[in-house]
Amino acid sequence: MERWIELNNKVLSGTEINTTYDTDALQVYFQEKVNPNTVFFHDLKEKIRYMTENGVWDPSIFERYSYDEVQQVFNRAYGYKFRFKSFMGAYKFYSEYATMTPDRSRWLERYEDRMSITALARSSNVEEALELVHHLVNQTFTPATPTLMNSGKANTGRLVSCFLLQDCTDNLNSITKTLSFVAELSKGGGGIGVEVSNLRARGESLRGIQNVTKGVMGVAKMLDNMLRYADQAGQRPGAGAIYLSVMHADFMDVLSAKKIASDEDSRLKTLSVGATIPDIFMQKVRSGEDIYQFYPHSIEQETGREFTSIDWNSEYQELADNPRIRKKRVSARRIFEDIAITQGESGYPYLLFEGNANRANPIPNVGKILMSNLCSEILQPTRPSYFHAYGEEHKDTIGLDVSCNLSSLVIEQTVESGDMGRVVGAAIRMLDDVARSTSVTEVPAVKRANDEMRSIGLGAMGLHSFLAKNELIYGSEEALDFVDTFFAAVHYHARKASMEIARDTGFVFGGFEGSRYADGSYFEQYLVKDFAPKTAEVAALFEGHTLPTKEDWAQLVRDIQQHGLAHSFVMAIAPTGSISYVSHASASIMPITEKVETRTSNKARTIYPMPHLNVDTEWYYEEAYDMDMNRVLDTVATAQRHVDQGISCTLFVPGTSSTRDLQRYYIQAYLKGVKTLYYTRMRKTTIEECLTCAV
């Protein structure tokens, strides 16, 4: 057993959280592991030569900088004398992010090297690189894992790892194309969301022959297998989610595939399942009425419409009344309960409240929001693609998919920097670079969306740790006040940076004209009132900050109308995993699950006391499972008002919870305007974490 692990494990032994052990572990880890096992270079020149000649760093990066400029960036990085604050942070970083020799025996990069090369790779001139390295080293924001891990490398993986596909339209060519796209993205470690509601249901007709189709499950099983087959060279299995409308006749089939009692043949082993829930369904749950689930092929034959193009709020009744459309009648509450049962048993399905998502859609002119991703924080309109057989590719229609370019602000460092505009601006510029540097040619609709829409998602992490440090209770009036103020300001600065990029480069995303951005209606709430702190406690936290006012927003809206925006979306709050350890922040904007977290990996059991955990803050670290989830829902709903995409929102409930408790939360989430619900986690139930998307 390694000494640093042992020391780190000792953290758990006292009542008064004694982080001395963790500090000791950290020190011993560097002294006995990292330092003696790092390849030594006499100077930066030698390091760069070695790294480029040995195929580690991409030599082309150094072409746009003089040696002197590169030196400046590295000097700046090392000049901050950065120190990890927890053993876990250092351990995570050095075991997952820092580049090692091919035999993984020695490190080629230190923390500062990784941050410097990332800054150089993600910038186009030395001023930008110096600015970016400042933020990266000091962790005011942290890029998503693939960006941080792969930036600047010669033999690099992708900078993004999260994709949404709406290519699975109702014909065999599209289905097989989707499978090949999934395989392609999966082998590079992507997490993939696939919309499948347009597939005809089980028992529909095929070329006029009745009762022959295998339905959504047939495709789902293939995706499930494909994701496991096309893994990342055996290191990690692929991860994917399908999104299916609750109005689809196969919905219960797919839900059952996640239940315990399912036999192996009909089980979806690793594929995640998301349920898209329109308002009409929620209304039927409220009234206790039955609802019809429809057969897509039958709808198409009768109306010529695709399933996903139906507006359930206005068209449901007509479809329900049409006797020529095949459908089945079920109790809405019964289905709702089944959703809760399946969530309780397996954590799935994710819920996407279509109405809430689309009411807040800034670009309805581009399309409807139909699906989300593996972590349920990406919400953008997608458009289906149509593929044809070999030799007829010219007939293909390429729709709009999504690639998620993500990064997360570290709330504590962002606020304490005193200049949110500077932090957010740098983060948006880095994400813009990620979007521009990404070209997934293998999946044409992803490439098209990235080229035309250039959507990005700036999120945040460390809410609970920031609140605890400042002795505010998660979900309290003050905490919500903070969330409201903070995210309103982030939104302002993010949008402003996006406008500036459009202004300075002339690039405006496709669909800006006709969007709710262009007519200003999307920003209305900011024009009627200031999002300034309402409580003294929160006002104190923002002391020294210049928060955006109504007038600032009005000016920004005018600027947007004049110059446009470079990005269709700018925000999304992902469930942060590894990078929150590295950045010493609690995950995302969720409450913590344990004051002292125990993480078991294949080699070591590591202990992670929450940031700033001490006798004073301990009280503010209520564990999620002990909380009324309405506090989480309120937090998410408050942030959601300022986040154009979604927020990955996990429900944490005690093992004694019943389906009724879950259903109450679903309804409350829906009524509060929450767009998506991610996993439900019951205490003592382990659920596969969303590894790929976790940024």
Binding site: S13, E337, A340, T656, S657, T659, T685, E688
Partner: protein
């Protein structure tokens, strides 16, 4: 407690209250020992040769035992002594209680011998915060403090005392026995042997008293008592598995210890005259030699390994609906009234 209606009497050792209490009392006095008699410092060099993990398990196992012995000495034995009838029985139980305190002291002495002051403090803090340990203590304490002093109530108190002394202590005993069996930490091992000898006898004595109480219950009470027994045992057993996993994971002995726990729960059942809860299985030979007994079986608790759990299904009620969603909401989006600012912008 029954008020003393009779005049207070003296203990008459010539007129035994039953066929066994005097024998037990004499056995106890013959076994009396003090930890200072054992040259613990002989183990100091061996202690340093143990790996960190081995030391951790050893000392934390002992610390857990310390807490349990303290519980027995301070809460369990006084409660039983208070409630059993007969001077000799009370005296016997009181002696047991004193020995529990001596056991606790001997664990503390080990800490003092092997650990630095800060390590020692850490171990004691660990006891206060180790969830399974605290859970075990609070389950048992709850029964000791239960105001029910009927036959059933008293029987329960006796049973949990036996559960501790015959089964729950053994997750902690395993490791010292295991090491001592390999010639390591032999002096400390001797202390453990003495303790185990004591506990074995304590467990049998209280189990005999419990059997009496059980016989005095009617059929319905007995049925209830047995159901309670099974339920409490399983609760403690599951807790003990988790405790074992925590305590023994690093030294790779989790499975061995779990078997040992089941084995001892079966011994408990035999002592109490109830059905065994687990099938026989082979326990570690080194440890078996340390306590001399036998048995065979397979793993009872190897439930299907998966991350699923069943959730209780409970219907959503109309009251729930009225509570959280008072009236069906209109979801059609009302066109927001344009603000003057927005108006102005629109005309720009």
């Amino acid at each position: 407690m029954q008020p003393h209606t009779d005049p207070f009497s003296a203990t008459n050792w010539s007129e035994p209250e039953d066929g066994f209490s005097t024998t037990f009392y004499e056995k106890y006095t013959s076994q009396l020992w003090f930890p200072e008699e054992i040259p613990l410092s002989n183990d100091a060099i061996v202690w340093k040769s143990l790996s960190d993990a081995e030391r951790w398990t050893y000392i934390h196992a002992s610390a857990g035992l310390n807490a349990l012995d303290t519980l027995q000495g301070e809460v369990g034995m006084p409660a039983l002594r208070h409630l059993v009838d007969g001077h000799i029985r009370k005296a016997t139980i009181q002696f047991q209680g004193m020995m529990e305190d001596i056991h606790a002291k001997s664990y503390s002495l080990m800490n003092k011998t092997f650990l630095t002051t800060s390590e020692e403090r850490e171990v004691f803090e660990w006891v206060r915060t180790q969830p399974q340990l605290q859970n075990k203590i609070s389950i048992i304490m709850g029964i000791y403090n239960d105001p029910d002093v009927s036959n059933l109530g008293l029987w329960k108190k006796m049973v949990v005392s036996c559960m501790l002394e015959t089964a729950l202590f053994y997750s902690g005993f395993f490791y010292p026995l295991y090491l001592a069996g390999q010639g390591r930490m032999v002096s400390a091992g001797e202390i453990f042997n003495l303790i185990i000898m004591d506990e074995a006898v304590h467990g049998v004595y209280v189990a005999l008293l419990a059997q009496e109480k059980f016989a005095e219950m009617n059929e319905a009470e007995q049925a209830y008592a047995l159901a309670w027994y099974e339920d409490t045992l399983m609760r403690l057993y599951r807790n003990e598995l988790a405790y074992t996993e925590m305590l023994y994971a690093e030294v790779g002995l989790v499975d061995e210890v779990k078997k040992f726990i089941r084995y001892n729960f079966n011994v408990l059942a035999d002592n109490l005259g109830v059905e065994r809860s687990f099938e026989d299985e082979e326990i570690n030979p080194i440890v078996r030699n340390g306590i001399k007994a036998k048995g065979t079986t397979h793993d009872f608790f190897s439930a299907k390994g998966n991350s699923y759990s069943k959730i209780a299904v409970e219907a959503l009620t109309e009251e729930d609906m009225d509570d959280i969603w008072p009236e069906p909401r209109r979801v059609t989006r009302k066109e927001p009234a344009r603000t003057p600012l927005l108006e102005a912008l629109a005309h720009d």
